[in-house]
Symmetry: D2
Subunit: 342 residues, 4 copies
């Protein structure tokens, strides 16, 4: 079979490990693989896809980013580009496509499948918010960077008797903040999944300060700490304070603490630094397993499915199920998290 | 309840995260925790256990080793020490014991349970060879160190057009070699779970050399590459070569390759360097979950059980089941591994 | 002799290595050491200093932050507190003080010396901007964190064909940006020591994009990229664009590039993450040498001096010389830097 | 000018940064650069050298190993190969050669220079044993790996109350052991520069054990701990113990301690793991400066010289001076080291 592969959406550690696994497994089974450039954009381009063989991918397993390039293009948003994309795909003689990406990429894959395209998906996100899989690759690496940052911030917090607040990725789900907080001994963690309770927050910070002279806080960028932060415009919070959306959650929390507690606070926003770098062991292995399994799906012509991790096993679920909703932090994890509040 | 905790066997990253979780969860539920010094030895000592509270463990989540100390002492090997240990435990007024350790420690816990001792287990191994749990903490950290070493060795292999062979931990199971090899793009991986096939090994090395001028090999210390390596004495291998057991698997493989292929080989043995250091995110989170769950088991008086990871969940299985046999690398993993042979 | 030691100003990696060296050297020579809490604040406090011996500092060489605590207090700013500080110092029976810190701390040490106080200095800064010493400890560690961040950002820049701009510490001197840029293969580096040339900046970014589809830029927070950024208020830049000071240099550069080049840019600000964490080898060794030498100075009663690195040697220069002016990036380095512009 | 560049001897971190600097500086000055494959072997090969331009080296600054390959070939050992090498060099139209390497490579460069070859040298060693330069690149990276290993071993030593002994590189000079020991808080460090004093060694270990229950030791592979270790054959040490040379210094020290002190010891040998991996900031910057300066030397036709670091400056010294003798650890450093003995 002639199989295409693409990586879409924001880059994350593990994409190259997945691409390599796709290529090795396909060659092992006698198929050939071609890489589309820059995600779905590659299906709209007149440039031919790149032939990928073992020699071209043998050393990429530990590289950050994606050698195929990525984009946020979605050809299935308009009828014209959808047809164009499908036509080029068929004209290329491809019998299967492995689409590696997050919510947007998998939604596009679903749209292609609904139009008869022979596509399977491999989920990746740094946010771990894809439904139907225990974990997504990219997440362990990104959260490890946040954990490392927290460990650095702790040194400064302790030396200067301050409150240090780290804002991490996570617009709709708080997995990064949750695991980084648990793994770093944070005194309080602010997530999108919970209504923000300023009184409890202040209490935990106070308890930490009393116990050892400093406090360490993690917050998801998407946590709704003030109603005005939702809108993204400069307005007032519930207490009448003027807010600038662009300053973010950490800045808001710091200002509130300084005003009400008199504590000296410092903030850091990890942003894009969290995104690149070599994948962790966990992400390399997960990406490798998923990439290999995607080829098995293509070979068995089980299209419209996505490879997922369930316990110890790699399985397939329908694409429609994976994109149906965002995977949120569950009550079990919230209960565990609060066991460790200061 | 008055609860004791101990860490036994070889130290590994994550032990302190587990101890911290035991303490936080216990305090949250109104119990008190006492640490036994140096594993089961602490039950034979006249020194009193150490009171552990949140203040004493709040910063240890990211520390390597174990703040409680460890040993390989097993009081249940003799009737006298077994009685002594149980008496001291009861005299101390303890209502539950959390024993954190590998095969030996959990076997001792089972022996204590069979004598009526109120004990639960938390599994840890760097080798990942405990039955009944998807993964054990310590393993991800240790294998990450091996992965890092392989990445360094690759630089030298490539620069000098050599074969580099890394010997990693794994006496009875090849999990460390397996995942380190998969994650590092090794050209060949030698495990205890497979009969060693010198011809196929030589073939893969040759293919790698032809493709890019060097080869990278990982081997479990416990792999039976020669019948004479089993005995641990200097004898002859299947080809009549004299072997020194103490030189290890990597040295044997290097000598064979040099003799038969004429390739220049270098070896490295990771040994104890693989053991310490700060735990990875994965190990911190897993250890934290298991430690907290162990307290839930004690509270519910579900003694004789061990907390394990099954898919996304933490559950309990009987201690007897966990120590019944060594968890080996399964056919699924061997098939995946060989997809990536050179 | 009874010797006091303090750490002042912003914490940085290596402070604990210096404190440890002070203690070990002093004990070796038969002196005793006492730690003042929280920098110069410890001289104004009625709490007694902490006795430091080998046992209390033997494991701190690799810890980030400072076990003594720090502050920005300067007792010599007012006559009253200056007298109070000196009196307490004498009442404590101290015969020497080792003040470890940056510009502010060393200036306070100079003031103390001018009032007859028996003090010597040890320089530390993350910015490397202390005059009279080749390098200061803290700088290598902090710049290594910036280098690591750049390597992560490169992955994303390459995958998405973007311009990535990292803003690093350096208010008055561009050493961090300079060395991070040189060591990371940045396409352009913006420093306080050079007038900002927007045309040349745009040109280099363009050349990088043409050569490989992305660009990597480093900028010192203190670079004067627009006259309006100096004032710290929201005004207009030379091209009439409205500026918010708080958005910083990276945000300004990104906006300008997007407007004029049409390139997609992303920014990251490393901030406090650059500050903590374990010191690098270089910083541990430098801090150790300086700390030991400071005791030699005290013992020889060469007060009013500061220990510095000159080539391979540790020497002493007058405190007045070290604080006279900021050490800037020299023409040699600027010439070297521009050799590597895209 | 048409300039050739080669990397010789054992690979180390920083070689690629030096090669990149050679290319960028040469292009900036209007010259062209050609890379010889596998060190001096490239001068004996009929394969043409590789043209190196900015595009081909722009991303290699942080890569371990050497993209040019390396070997231990020395064409100037025989008259025939020497003539052959020089003839090929002239036939290639080269006007200058930059030879990057350690003692052997620089000795070959000197031989070439003595035959009229237009060559300059750039020193690299992991051992830091080249005379005439403050530090060589490769050393900081390699010693950082040793420091990291020591930090891991400390966790195990502390948890199990053992003596842990790490054997590091350094056949003739003890720089790696010295700085790794200083930076890691080792209790004792064994170097080739000092006669081994078993009594003092035992004393320090004992003191460490008494103080905190464990000890950490570093030893250079080249330290002469027993007269029989010199010969490399299995004989007897000064106390009549049978020695196997291949077991190394760490194994010898462990056995002696176990026999005489009754302490439980473990050893680790870092070996080739110390060699590869991404260079540290320090090594990248030093290699970059030296590489650029080498082109300046070629341009000024100052052949027969080697670029070295002296204090803050890069300068040139005669090749003959650099290879005259091995740079050893000086009394200043030994005195500093023993300040920190347990």
């Amino acid at each position: 079979m002639k199989i295409a592969v693409l990586t879409g959406g924001g880059d994350c550690p593990g994409l190259n490990a997945a691409v390599r696994a796709v290529v090795y497994r396909a060659e092992q089974r006698g198929h050939t693989v071609w890489g589309l450039r820059d995600g779905w954009k590659g299906l709209l381009s007149s440039d031919p896809p790149t032939r990928l063989d073992r020699a071209s991918v043998q050393e990429i397993v530990g590289w950050g980013g994606t050698v195929l390039g990525s984009s946020r293009t979605n050809p299935f948003k308009s009828e014209d580009t959808a047809k164009d994309a499908l036509r080029r795909f068929q004209d290329g003689g491809f019998e299967g496509l492995v689409a590696i990406g997050g919510d947007d990429t998998l939604s596009a894959a679903l749209a292609m499948h609904q139009r008869g395209g022979p596509v399977v998906g491999v989920p990746k996100t740094m946010d771990n918010d894809v439904e139907g899989t225990d974990w997504t690759f990219g997440f362990d690496s990104a959260t490890s960077v946040a954990m490392d940052a927290l460990s650095r911030l702790r040194d400064t917090a302790r030396s200067h008797h301050r409150v240090l607040i780290l804002e991490v990725m996570g617009r709709h789900a708080g997995w990064v903040a949750l695991l980084a907080g648990l793994a770093s001994g944070a005194d309080y963690t602010v997530l999108p999944e919970e209504p923000f309770d300023i009184a409890r927050f202040r209490e935990c910070v106070q308890r930490a300060i009393q116990a050892r002279g400093y406090a360490l806080v993690v917050a998801s960028e998407g946590a709704e700490v003030s109603s005005d932060l939702r809108g993204g415009t400069a307005t007032r919070d519930d207490f009448g304070h003027e807010i600038l959306r662009e300053k973010g959650v950490a800045a808001y929390l710091a200002r509130r603490l300084e005003e009400e507690g008199g504590w000296e606070c410092r903030t850091a926003v990890i942003g894009h630094i969290q995104r690149g770098g070599p994948p962790t062991l966990f992400d390399r292995v997960l990406a490798t397993r998923l990439g290999a399994y995607a080829i098995d799906l293509v070979e068995r012509r089980e299209f419209g499915k996505v490879a997922v991790l369930r316990g110890e096993e790699i399985r397939a679920i329908p694409l429609a199920e994976a994109v149906a909703r965002t995977r949120k932090v569950s009550p079990y994890w919230l209960d565990l998290l609060h066991t460790f509040d200061a």
